[in-house]
């Protein structure tokens, strides 16, 4: 469904991604693991073309999307949930959802506000509140809900568990599994291996912008030395 081949990215002269190549299969949940600064967010942004890769290509459903404008990538069916939440704090919950709204897409769930409120009951009570009045956990839910309004086929979740109370993180994990059941494909970046283990089918590990491992969870368990070297739990 999504394929990166030899993706390289730079900030100025600094080489932040080095020949990344991996695939995300349809309907799978893939976890991108690595330390902070390993290049996880840059990978996400390179897929969205918010950072333009220099060299290599990103293809989505067989189409080369390298060099597209981010809004075009989003329209093609990729939904991006950024790390720092970035909700529109001056807008209400409903208005935030409106920003994310896109026309229905063939073969994907068409989300309505009510379906999302079912998925995130906390948001339902807050629909008229401004974004800034929400707690950190509610903001995280709103970012996901906002992206789902675009009826994406593939969701990029950047560090969904960061800075959130354990109980809410568990709720997040249930939501991801539910999305998978609905047929969505998910690529999430994580530092928390526990969380990744709970939701992911396979993992990609990167370190200093270089890919160190790609395979199933079971394969990773079989190679504890890799896990210890790059994840160190």
């Amino acid at each position: 469904m999504l394929e990166l081949s030899n993706v390289n990215a730079f900030y100025g002269k600094a080489h932040v991604l080095n020949d990344l190549s991996f695939e995300v299969g349809r309907g799978k949940v893939v976890a991108l693991l690595g330390r902070n600064g390993a290049g996880k967010t840059t990978t996400m942004k390179s897929i969205m073309q918010m950072v333009q890769p220099r060299g290599g290509s990103v293809s989505y459903q067989g189409q080369n999307i390298t060099g597209w404008a981010p809004h075009r990538v989003a329209k093609a069916g990729l939904g991006y949930v950024p790390e720092e939440r970035r909700i529109f704090t001056q807008l209400t919950v409903l208005e935030n959802l409106e920003v994310g709204r896109q026309p229905p897409r063939d073969g994907c769930v068409t989300w309505s506000e009510e379906m999302l409120f079912e998925l995130f009951p906390n948001l339902a009570e807050r629909r008229g509140n401004r974004g800034k009045a929400l707690s950190g956990g509610e903001q995280q839910m709103l970012t996901i809900a906002r992206t789902l309004m675009g009826n994406p086929a593939l969701v990029l979740l950047d560090e969904p568990s960061e800075g959130i109370a354990p109980v809410i993180v568990e709720q997040m994990a249930r939501v991801i599994l539910q999305l998978k059941q609905e047929g969505l494909t998910v690529l999430l970046s994580e530092q928390n291996l526990h969380f990744a283990q709970a939701v992911a089918d396979s993992v990609v590990i990167i370190e200093s912008g270089t890919q160190k491992f790609a395979g199933s969870l079971a394969a990773l368990q079989a190679q504890p030395e890799i896990r210890d070297a790059y994840l160190s739990v």
């Binding site: 900030y11 100025g12 002269k13 950024p82 970035r86 529109f88 807008l91 409106e98 920003v99």
Partner: protein
């Protein structure tokens, strides 16, 4: 009572055009974060285009059609400007774009002059609304009543568009985080262009709609700009109801001012603004501005270090060359070099405050002109010798900066910038309208240097020593603990406060220091010219300094004086031609697009590439 009501109605009618222009400016700023200096120019274009259309289209339908068409045409011109001038520089550091819009002002000024000529145009009266209505025996023009009726509809339509429609939601979302809006599938380039169209169209509409009351002339752009800034700031950036209310307050106040306090009409507006901002630092309906953390890119500023030996030798060589001007050059060269030196010190003082302190002032001329007037007044009324006057000039300017800084620093960001502009205008209007003391428009003349310094050559050396000394002092201050603390307050006020630094106070001291340094330049200026006029306090003077700081490079230590020297030299050359504004405007736009890090920033890059300077550390 009747007169009172009639005046109130006139004020309300005047508020219409002002509101339209102000809401356009506010809208553009909200979404693009660009302070559009050229907004007054679009207003002016609206008037000229509307005038021409009214000559062609007949009757009542033609009149109103011309107004609408003028709005659309100006909106389209705005689109051209946005696509050609602003799109290439959206990724430049914050506020850099305003330099480009300044270039646009100059270009539009000369193009208007070319097309419509220098003569003022008298606007036609509205067909069918030429008469007056008697209200309590006072004549009120019918057209005024029409304007009073129309404005709320425009305001309501705008409010509805922004608060209730999907487009409005997208616009508000983009105001906060445009990159994210893009990542959610919205084509933000077109959203920007659309907002620019709407904002400029509103300005054009404002220009056309006031034709029957005011006509069209070439000074309209700057004249409206100050009022519009004041309206937007009083109402609160981004607030439509605020803009409407403020437009009404200012317009009504102006009408009453003309009748009851003709000596202080210009001052009044700024006094109101200062009072409002003292109680509500973000305007009547404004919210505290959250610095845009997203969507602003550009390289992080580098650590500073004292110049290396090579650069010092280069500077020394340059100074020796400068010192040889009287020997090698003409009398004219001496005078020109003196002018440039003084301007460089002025620019460097602003650069210190802006670059190191992050304090963007739109009114730094207050202290340059202030210093000049302090010296001139002392000479005129107290026969003060030049030496003493030149010492008291920076003291006076510094003192003014202490007071003005205290008020302005209650706000931050664009509000701070607007407040400084307001105070500069306040000083300007004081000087302009208080003719008995300041000579008003005629200025103060016959202020000559002491006998020993009266030759051009001696005065040149005096200026050289003072200005170079001042610039070096500013530069050293940047390397001192004071400069570091100032930078700390700018980089992270949160951390600075948590390490015992009183950030507001350090900024206050920096403001006063920069003001005093500008005062030195002002004092020198008076004695070099022998006279001073109110235009040394003018908004255009402040903008000159601001533009050169950006052109020179904010994120460098030498941007101020390098920009100042280049700008003055180029301007001196270009003003020999008829359409010099056009050329200068295009040149500024060119520099903005080609060298977004300013002259020094780009030269530094070049120097590193050819190995003259040590390269900066690579980012990870």
């Amino acid at each position: 009572m009747g007169l009172f009501l009639a005046q109130l109605l006139t004020g309300l009618a005047n508020a219409g055009a002002l509101f339209m222009v102000a809401s356009g400016l506010s809208l553009i700023f909200g979404v693009t974060r660009i302070v559009n200096f050229a907004h007054g120019s679009f207003y002016m274009l609206g008037a000229y285009v509307g005038y021409t259309l009214m000559q062609v289209l007949p009757g009542m339908v033609g009149f109103w059609g011309a107004i609408l068409l003028a709005g659309i045409i100006v909106g389209l011109i705005g689109v051209i400007v946005e696509i050609c001038v602003l799109r290439p520089v959206y990724s430049a550091p914050e506020l850099f774009q305003l330099v480009a819009t300044f270039g646009v002002i100059l270009v539009i000024q000369d193009l208007t002059l070319m097309i419509w000529g220098a003569e003022d145009l008298l606007g036609p009266r509205a067909p069918g609304l030429k008469g007056v209505v008697r209200i309590l025996d006072e004549p009120v023009p019918q057209y005024d009543l029409a304007l009073i009726a129309i404005t709320p509809f425009v305001a309501f339509a705008l409010w509805y568009l922004i608060s209730k429609t999907r487009v409005g939601i997208l616009v508000r979302a983009a105001t906060q985080d445009r990159e994210m809006v893009g990542a959610l599938g919205v084509n933000q380039s077109w959203l920007f262009t659309g907002v620019f169209f709407l904002g400029c169209a509103l300005a054009g509409l404002g220009g056309a709609v006031q034709l029957p009351k005011g006509g069209a002339d070439l000074l309209m752009d700057f004249n409206i700009l100050t009022s519009v800034f004041v309206v937007v700031v009083i109402g609160g950036m981004g607030s439509l109801p605020g803009a409407y209310l403020a437009a009404v307050i200012i317009s009504v106040l102006n009408v009453f001012g003309v009748s009851y306090m003709p000596q202080s009409t210009l001052v009044l507006m700024f006094v109101v603004m200062v009072v409002v901002l003292i109680f509500r630092p973000f305007g009547l309906f404004g919210k505290e501005e959250v610095a845009g953390e997203h969507g602003q890119v550009g390289e992080p500023e580098r650590p500073i270090k004292p110049a290396g030996l090579r650069v010092r030798m280069l500077v020394l060589a340059g100074l020796v060359l400068l010192g040889l001007i009287p020997v090698l050059g003409s009398n004219f060269a001496e005078v020109l070099a003196t002018d440039i030196l003084i301007f460089c010190l002025f620019a460097a003082s602003l650069h210190f405050m802006l670059g190191q302190g992050g304090l963007v002032s739109f009114g730094h001329a207050a202290f340059f002109g202030g210093g000049a007037y302090v010296a001139a007044l002392l000479v005129t009324y107290a026969d003060t010798p030049m030496e003493l006057a030149m010492v008291l000039a920076p003291l006076g300017a510094g003192l003014a900066a202490v007071v003005i800084g205290w008020v302005c620093l209650r706000s931050t960001g664009v509000y701070f910038a607007m407040l400084t502009l307001a105070f500069a205008q306040l000083l300007w209007s004081l000087v302009f309208q208080w003719g008995d003391i300041t000579g008003g428009d005629d200025g103060l003349v016959n202020i000559w240097p002491s006998a020993w310094a009266s030759s051009n050559t001696v005065f040149f050396y005096l200026a050289l020593v003072i200005c170079v000394g001042g610039i070096l002092l500013l530069r050293h201050a940047a390397h001192s603990p004071f400069g570091y603390a100032l930078r700390a307050a700018r980089d992270s006020a949160r951390q600075a406060e948590a390490m015992g630094i009183h950030t507001k106070r350090i900024q206050w001291v920096a403001f006063a220091f920069a003001g005093a340094m500008a005062g030195i330049a002002g004092g020198l200026f008076v004695f070099s010219k022998g006279s001073v006029f109110p235009n040394e306090l003018e908004i255009a003077r402040s903008f000159d300094a601001l533009i050169v700081v950006f052109l020179g490079g904010v994120k460098t230590l030498s941007g101020g004086w390098v920009g100042g020297a280049s700008f003055e030299a180029v301007k001196d050359y270009l003003t020999r031609f008829e359409y010099w504004r056009l050329a200068l405007g295009l040149l500024i736009i060119g520099v903005v697009i080609l060298a977004p890090e300013g002259i020094v920033g780009s030269l530094r890059k070049l120097g590193e590439r050819i190995g003259f300077l040590n390269a900066a550390e690579d980012k990870r």
